[in-house]
């Protein structure tokens, strides 16, 4: 995708979204639009509903009320065991969701083989190249043999390998340690410029929010409070 073909309309939008768990209100009347190339940081306490909002944005959870739009199209159906979108959304959960019986390279190459029809050798080579860009050695290790930070980076690679329009990252703190922050931000910046990647990161710390987001949004009492950073 060339820089000039990046659309000016929101990639992802939620309107009047509310969520209730076991009678407890988690989110209330949330309205949020994410534009191409935008860097958004969602900041909130441990129980503020950041992860729930990210899952709703990723199409993985149905909100109690409200609508979800991807590229201007309203998402009308929700299938708990199906694919939420016709195109991939980069989503990295807190537990990273790596396939435990696959190596790091195999985890990253899976979407390339499954969706992009790439042959296995080529997909593994692409995966190792991407891992090397983020400074990860030893793509032949399984998730149980990786440190939490490395697991986060592998999950990030897997989420970005298909070049999605948006990256939703739950708790990126773990991959933004001193050694990797520069490389990670470099890769994300390159993809922002090249394909218009928008980034939404959910974190608890304002200092991390300032690293990942040019737009910082606080989640308090189930609602959003916003001010520019």
């Amino acid at each position: 995708m060339s820089s000039s073909s990046i659309p000016a309309e929101p990639i992802l939008e939620v309107r009047h979204v509310s969520m209730v768990f076991d009678g407890r209100r988690i989110l209330h009347d949330i309205n949020l639009s994410i534009m191409p190339r935008e860097r958004v940081a969602l900041v909130g306490g441990f129980d503020s509903g950041k992860s729930v909002l990210l899952r709703i944005l990723a199409g993985l959870m149905k909100p109690a009320t409200g609508d979800l739009y991807l590229g201007g199209d309203r998402v009308s159906s929700y299938d708990p065991w199906g694919v939420p979108w016709s195109r991939p959304v980069g989503y990295v959960s807190q537990n990273h969701g790596l396939r435990s019986n696959m190596t790091a390279s195999e985890n990253i190459s899976l979407p390339l083989i499954y969706l992009n029809q790439m042959n296995e050798a080529e997909a593994l080579s692409t995966a190792r190249t991407f891992l090397a860009r983020l400074g990860i050695e030893g793509g032949d290790r399984r998730p149980s043999e990786l440190s939490p930070g490395e697991r986060g980076l592998v999950a990030l690679c897997r989420a970005l390998i298909l070049e999605p329009a948006i990256l939703l990252f739950d708790e990126p703190t773990v991959v933004l340690d001193v050694d990797h922050a520069e490389r990670v931000m470099g890769v994300l910046e390159e993809m922002r410029n090249r394909i218009g990647l928008a980034i939404v990161g959910a974190c608890t710390s304002e200092s991390v929010a300032k690293i990942i987001g040019s737009r910082i949004i606080w989640l308090k009492n189930g609602g959003l409070e916003e001010n520019g950073a």
Binding site: W81, G82, V83, S93, Q94, N95, G97, P111, L115, L168
Partner: protein
């Protein structure tokens, strides 16, 4: 009272859910791209190895012992009523048609059904299923379909092994323990085992494999957030799969008798 809390009502809903899951997994897998089929094939081969090859010795042992026990018990009673020649008939009816498919199903439920529901439930809790969905990989095509195919094929193979081992067990019991002439047992089997017995047992093997794997995947995927739901999913799989296999057995046996 909430209707969903009634056991019969929730069982019917679960039954519909299992059937829909199996049907949609087949539909999605058959329309999958070549790259997806490559990944799916790898999983069903692994599943077949786990369910079929790794359980082979258990099934062969169980089959041999059951065949020997049935032959032994039969030969202790049949000669008293002048029906020693009916041993083959009994082996066909009791072991090939009924005990074989049911015992293989119980072994598959105990080994693979529980393992599948625990594995898939753990994948849900660990965020693997959500990650696959966000990437655009359908859990039905990638997780459910290959497991169903693997278990169905493995159940069929295990059933063939079980039948062969049980007939051999019967032979050992009648010719070595009871000291009947070997020809007596083989002739009796040849006279009373018909093609329809083999068809019925194969049909049951396929159906039980389909039922067990679909139920295991369904309860595994129904796990929501907590790791404590995973053993409950395994328990529900065992109970539902046993009852469903017995109900299916009754239907097939009834149809068989009508034929």
């Amino acid at each position: 009272m909430n209707r969903a809390s009634l056991p019969l009502y929730s069982s019917i809903l679960d039954g519909i859910g299992v059937a829909r899951l199996a049907f949609r997994s087949f539909r999605e897998a058959f329309t999958a791209t070549s790259g997806a089929r490559f990944c799916i094939q790898r999983i069903w081969v692994q599943q077949m190895k786990f369910t079929g090859v790794d359980a082979c010795h258990i099934v062969v042992m169980a089959g041999f012992l059951i065949g020997a026990i049935v032959a032994l018990q039969s030969l202790s009673i049949l000669p008293q009523v002048g029906a020693a020649g009916m041993l083959g008939k009994l082996m066909a009816m009791v072991v090939i048609r009924e005990l074989g498919p049911i015992l293989v199903a119980f072994i598959v439920i105990g080994r693979s059904g529980t393992a599948m529901s625990v594995e898939i439930g753990t994948m849900v809790v660990g965020g693997e299923v959500a990650a696959l969905r966000s990437l655009g990989i359908s859990p039905r095509a990638y997780i459910v379909f290959p497991r169903i195919v693997g278990v169905v094929l493995a159940s069929f193979i295990l059933l063939v092994y079980f039948d062969m081992a049980s007939l051999f067990g019967g032979y050992v019991a009648s010719s070595m323990l009871i000291k009947q002439h070997p020809d007596f047992y083989l002739r009796s089997l040849g006279e009373h085992i018909h093609l329809i017995d083999i068809v019925a047992t194969i049909l049951k093997g396929f159906l039980f494999g389909l039922i067990i794997s679909s139920i295991a995947c369904y309860f595994g995927l129904r796990v929501q957030r907590s790791i404590t739901e995973v053993p409950q999913a395994a328990m529900r799989t065992v109970v539902a799969a046993i009852l469903a296999c017995l109900a299916c057995d009754l239907l097939v046996s009834f149809s068989y008798i009508r034929i």
